[in-house]
Structure formats: structure tokens, C-alpha cells
């Protein structure tokens, strides 16, 4: 039995515009996604902001009712068996919210231990263990309002583990952390699967997913566009080339013309001080430099360079193109267990 299963999971929201004449509009945040996570696996949902990662996780942890499809955690339906699901999962989200700032770190954990029904005789030992695990020992009696962002994040992780859940949902747990803080949180996450936990992690950092996850699903605009091991995703772009063109003041229509060149698989524009860098990914064997420069007539061109594609390029290619592209499905089919 899979630890987490989503089948054609959908979620739409109603939003309103206007003040006097209010109009409602439906937004499809998640558009029928399916995936499964095996027990003990660390599975990553990778995607840009607004891709549907948090909405997916909130349906799985019973905070949102899906508008279509179904989801099961440890064989339990997230709508019908919500109470039982809550007993067996932990939820950690990124950022500074979710902490009682006027209480100490220890009191925060004590409160949530009561909330999650951790037996009284086990609480002290469990809290001490977790404080040790997340590196907050010796600071636990200070008020949380004085904690750094990284300390609050580690307190979140400890809170999520208090009741020793079988499945842990981590929603962008390193967002906004400095490199050292993020590394500490990542090493804590890595130790979770070693302890036999099933983890679903959402992130928009490719390297984080690469370093931590057994498998990754790339989600964009509410659809899963690729699924597989990090190596599978890398292989998807390994044969191509990346051409970087430094350009000063590139017009949108020129970017569209580059995108339309046969053999171009993805185009991204990066801002670098006064210049922009057009990052063009091309398919295997294509030499498109002249064709690209031909599309940039009228723009000041700077340096042009060629390089091997990285995992980040694979990610950019996946999230910046329509999901119907057959190559992405191939990655998914090749790697789905």
C-alpha cells in the first residue's frame, strides 16, 4: 500500500472582483494530478510559485476539501477519514508564522504535544530529544519572538515530529533561510527518511530536491509535467545545449521569435544588472546561434556562450513550456514505479 496516493486530484477556488458589481471567477489551482509515494520514500513536489504545490499539500493534510478526484494517506481517505489522517501525519510549513511568539520554544512544543495527544509521561523525553535533533537545546526557554528565522523553522520541524507521525508533509521548509540555516534544516530532513518516515516535500529549489528526494514530480500551472528520479530529469535535457546571449533591452516579440525557432526547447530571460541574458535551450545536434541572433535584430548583443545543460535548465524547460510536450510524458512514464 502506498503511503500517499493522489488520483486525478483537483481543486478550484472562487475569487471575486469588483466592489459594487461583484463578479465571481473560478481559478483552477490543481488540475487533476495523480501520483503515489511509497512508505519510507522522500518525494518532492517541485514547481514555481503558484504552481499548486501548497494547494496539493493542503488537500492531503485535510485542510482543503478537493473539488475533484481523491487522495489517500496511509490508505485513509483525506475527506472521509480526516480525523484518523490527522493523527498520523505531521505538517511543517516554511516562514516565520505558525509559532506562538510570546511563548518559549519549550512551551510551544509542550502546547502542541498536548494538542497532538502525546502521553504526559513521554512528553518531556520527546521534547528534549527533538530539541536536540533540531539544535535548539539551551535556547528552548527563550521566547520564540527572539528566535532567528532559521531557529523558528527548526522549531516547526520539531513540532511536526512531536507525535512521531508516519508521514510528514514539508511545505517549502527552507524558504527565506540563509544558506547555513537552510543546510541545517535539510540535514534534519535527510535524517527523517533514515528514521523510516515517509516525507512529501514541496520546494522551488531544484538543488534541494536533487539533494534530498528519491523521486520528484515537477508541477506547474496545476499539472504534473514530469515525474521521476533526479537523474531521470537530468537525462531529459542531457543531450541538448544551452546558448546564453547577453543582450541589452530585448523586446518581448523578439523572445517569442526565438521561442518559435525549430529545435529550441525552452527560453528564459534572466536580469543581470543593466543587461539581460537570454538562456536558450536547444535539442540534440542543433546549431542555432545564427538563427537566434537573427531574431534579435535591433538589440545590442554582448557576449555569447555555449554550455552543457544543468538540472536547473531541465527544471526551467519543464515549467516554462506547455505540459502537452511529449518529452515530459516520456520522463514520467519511464520513471513511474
Amino acid at each position: 500500500m502506498a503511503a500517499i496516493e493522489a488520483a486525478d486530484l483537483r481543486r478550484t477556488y472562487k475569487t471575486h472582483t469588483g466592489t459594487v458589481r461583484r463578479r465571481s471567477k473560478e481559478i483552477e489551482a490543481v488540475r487533476g494530478i495523480s501520483f503515489s509515494v511509497e512508505p519510507g520514500e522522500l518525494f518532492g513536489l517541485l514547481g514555481p510559485n503558484g504552481a499548486g504545490k501548497t494547494t496539493t499539500i493542503k488537500m492531503l493534510i485535510t485542510l482543503l476539501i478537493p473539488t475533484g478526484g481523491s487522495a489517500r494517506v496511509l490508505g485513509l481517505d483525506v475527506v472521509r477519514d480526516a480525523d484518523e489522517v490527522r493523527r498520523r501525519i505531521g505538517y511543517v510549513f516554511g516562514g516565520e508564522r505558525g509559532v506562538y511568539e510570546r511563548l518559549s520554544g519549550y512551551d510551544n512544543l509542550r502546547y502542541f504535544a498536548e494538542l497532538y495527544g502525546v502521553p504526559a509521561r513521554e512528553q518531556k523525553r520527546r521534547i528534549e530529544e527533538l530539541l536536540e535533533l533540531v539544535g535548539l537545546k539551551d535556547r528552548e526557554h527563550e521566547r520564540a519572538e527572539g528566535y532567528s528565522r532559521g531557529m523558528k523553522q527548526r522549531l516547526h520541524v520539531a513540532r511536526g515530529l512531536l507525535h512521531d507521525p508516519d508521514v510528514l508533509f514539508l511545505d517549502e521548509p527552507t524558504i527565506g533561510l540563509d544558506p547555513v540555516g537552510a543546510r541545517d534544516v535539510r540535514s534534519t530532513i535527510a535524517s527523517l527518511t533514515a528514521a523510516g518516515k515517509t516525507v512529501l516535500l514541496t520546494t522551488h529549489y531544484m538543488f534541494e530536491a536533487d539533494a534530498l528526494c528519491d523521486r520528484i514530480a515537477v508541477i506547474t500551472q496545476g499539472n504534473i509535467v514530469a515525474e521521476g528520479t533526479p537523474e531521470d530529469l537530468k537525462r531529459g535535457v542531457a543531450d541538448g545545449t544551452v546558448i546564453e546571449v547577453e543582450v541589452y533591452g530585448v523586446a518581448d516579440e523578439n523572445v517569442q521569435r526565438v521561442r518559435a525557432i525549430g529545435g529550441v526547447t525552452a527560453v528564459a530571460v534572466e536580469e543581470r544588472e543593466q543587461a539581460q541574458v537570454l538562456v536558450v535551450q536547444t535539442g540534440p545536434g542543433a546549431e542555432l546561434t545564427q538563427a537566434i541572433l537573427g531574431c534579435l535584430n535591433g538589440s545590442d548583443i554582448g557576449r555569447i556562450s555555449h554550455r552543457e545543460p544543468t538540472l536547473e535548465d531541465a527544471y526551467v524547460a519543464l515549467v516554462s513550456e506547455p505540459s502537452e510536450t511529449t518529452g515530459r510524458h516520456a520522463v514520467r512514464q519511464a520513471s513511474t514505479p
Partner: protein, 256 residues
């Protein structure tokens, strides 16, 4: 046992948070003094010292009620701002039970309001502080706190569904002072107001506190106060799942 322990520990931690808020603390210290002063100036025209005690007790319960009505709504709003509301909802405990220690903590602050008002009246204005039935008085205060906490719970659960409804907490503050006879006897109010007062536990809590302080028979009022408090708690428990399902369907739990 686990449930009682949860309520006790949560109440303690909620109380800790309330006490650590400088603004809440400042308001809690000053408000009762304003209530007592206002009551004294309104009622000093009366010749009987009992009138002043009557007003002083009314002012004390006003403070208790204000603490619950205004804070229950804002407490829910604070949980949203802090991002903790979603964590409370995903906890395996029944959500009404999760909220109860919070509203109980707020109602407990009301005990300080009561004591401060009575002492202010005694030392600043010389209002005699005689309690005819101390035991019944103590029980009446406890019953009133519990009933207020029950009513606060009903408010809090509703505020989870209606995000902007915390403003209504302020709206409920003043009418209840009047309708429930905190300052003037219910008999002086129009008859159509009476049924509203009867279904509000503060009416009976106020009566029980006055009866026990002034030497009457507080037991019926005390029991009615407790009974209505229980009805509020049961009502809150019954609507909780419906309110939460609705919020989960609308996706409004994470909105601030």
C-alpha cells in the same frame, strides 16, 4: 484524564500569553477602574449604600464580559495572523476542545476585573465591600466565568467561519451590559427585551453574584447560568464540524 490535562495545560499557556501582552495587560488593568468610576458617578445620587454595591458588582461583571466579548473574536483573528489556526485545525483533538482553554483563559482574566473593580470602589469611593454569602459568591463567580467561556467559545467557532465577524465581538459588548441588567434592573427594560436576556447566561450570572453578595438566594440563578453555559458549549461542539467543513471547502482557513 488526558482531556482535563489538555485543558489545564492549554489554559495555563493561554493565560501566560495574555499576561505577556503589554497592550492587553494595560487595558485589563485600566478598564475595570473606568467601569467602577462610571458606575459610582451614575449611582451616587442614590441614598442607599446597597445601590452603590449593586452598581459596583454590575461594573465588575461588565469588566468580565468585556474581556470575553472583545477578546474571543480578536483571539481567533490573532491565530490567523500568527498562522497557527491551520495547525490547530489539523491537530487530532476536537477543534471546540482546542478553542475552549483559549476562551476560558480570557474569561479568567475577568476574575481580575471583578476583584479590581470591587477594590477600586472600596478604596477610591468608599463603597462597602460586604459579601453576605462568601461561598455562594465564589461559586457564582466561577459559574459566570465558565458560562462566559462557553459563550466565548460559541463566538470563536463562528469567527472561524466568518473572518470579519471578530468585529461583532465589540458590537456585543455594550448591548449585553444593558440587556443583562449589569447597570439597571431587567424589570426597568421593555418587556420584549426580557426573553433575550433570559437566554443570555450573563443575566443569570449577574443575578447570582448580586444575590450572593447582597444576601438573597443565588442558587436558581447560578444553576441557570451553568445550564446556559453548558448549552453554549454543546452548541459550539455541534456546529464546529460543520463550520470547519465549510471553511475547508471555501479554502478560507489560511486567509487573514
Amino acid at each position: 484524564m488526558s482531556t482535563f490535562r489538555f485543558v489545564r495545560v492549554s489554559w495555563l499557556l493561554q493565560f501566560k500569553m495574555i499576561m505577556r501582552s503589554p497592550f492587553d495587560g494595560f487595558g485589563n488593568v485600566l478598564y475595570p477602574l473606568f467601569f467602577a468610576t462610571t458606575a459610582f458617578f451614575v449611582f451616587r445620587a442614590g441614598t442607599s449604600p446597597r445601590t452603590l454595591i449593586y452598581a459596583s458588582l454590575g461594573a465588575a461583571v461588565m469588566g468580565m464580559w468585556s474581556s470575553v466579548s472583545t477578546s474571543a473574536g480578536s483571539a481567533m483573528q490573532r491565530e490567523r495572523w500568527w498562522g497557527t489556526l491551520e495547525l490547530l485545525v489539523t491537530a487530532p483533538r476536537h477543534f471546540a476542545l482546542v478553542l475552549f482553554p483559549s476562551t476560558l483563559g480570557l474569561a479568567s482574566v475577568g476574575i481580575y476585573n471583578l476583584v479590581a473593580t470591587l477594590l477600586w470602589g472600596r478604596f477610591a469611593f468608599g463603597i462597602p465591600l460586604t459579601i453576605e454569602h462568601p461561598l455562594e459568591f465564589g461559586l457564582s463567580v466561577v459559574a459566570t466565568v465558565l458560562a462566559f467561556a462557553g459563550l466565548g467559545l460559541l463566538f470563536a467557532v463562528s469567527f472561524v467561519r466568518f473572518r470579519a465577524a471578530w468585529v461583532l465581538g465589540n458590537f456585543f459588548e455594550y448591548p449585553v451590559w444593558l440587556i443583562c441588567g449589569f447597570l439597571v434592573p431587567l424589570a426597568l427594560l421593555p418587556r420584549w427585551v426580557h426573553p433575550i436576556a433570559w437566554v443570555l447566561a450573563p443575566t443569570w450570572g449577574m443575578n447570582a453574584i448580586r444575590e450572593s453578595a447582597l444576601g438573597g438566594t443565588p442558587l436558581p440563578d447560578l444553576l441557570l447560568c451553568l445550564g446556559l453555559g453548558t448549552v453554549y458549549v454543546v452548541g459550539a461542539v455541534l456546529v464546529t464540524n460543520r463550520v470547519l467543513d465549510d471553511a475547508r471547502a471555501r479554502g478560507s482557513l489560511s486567509l487573514t
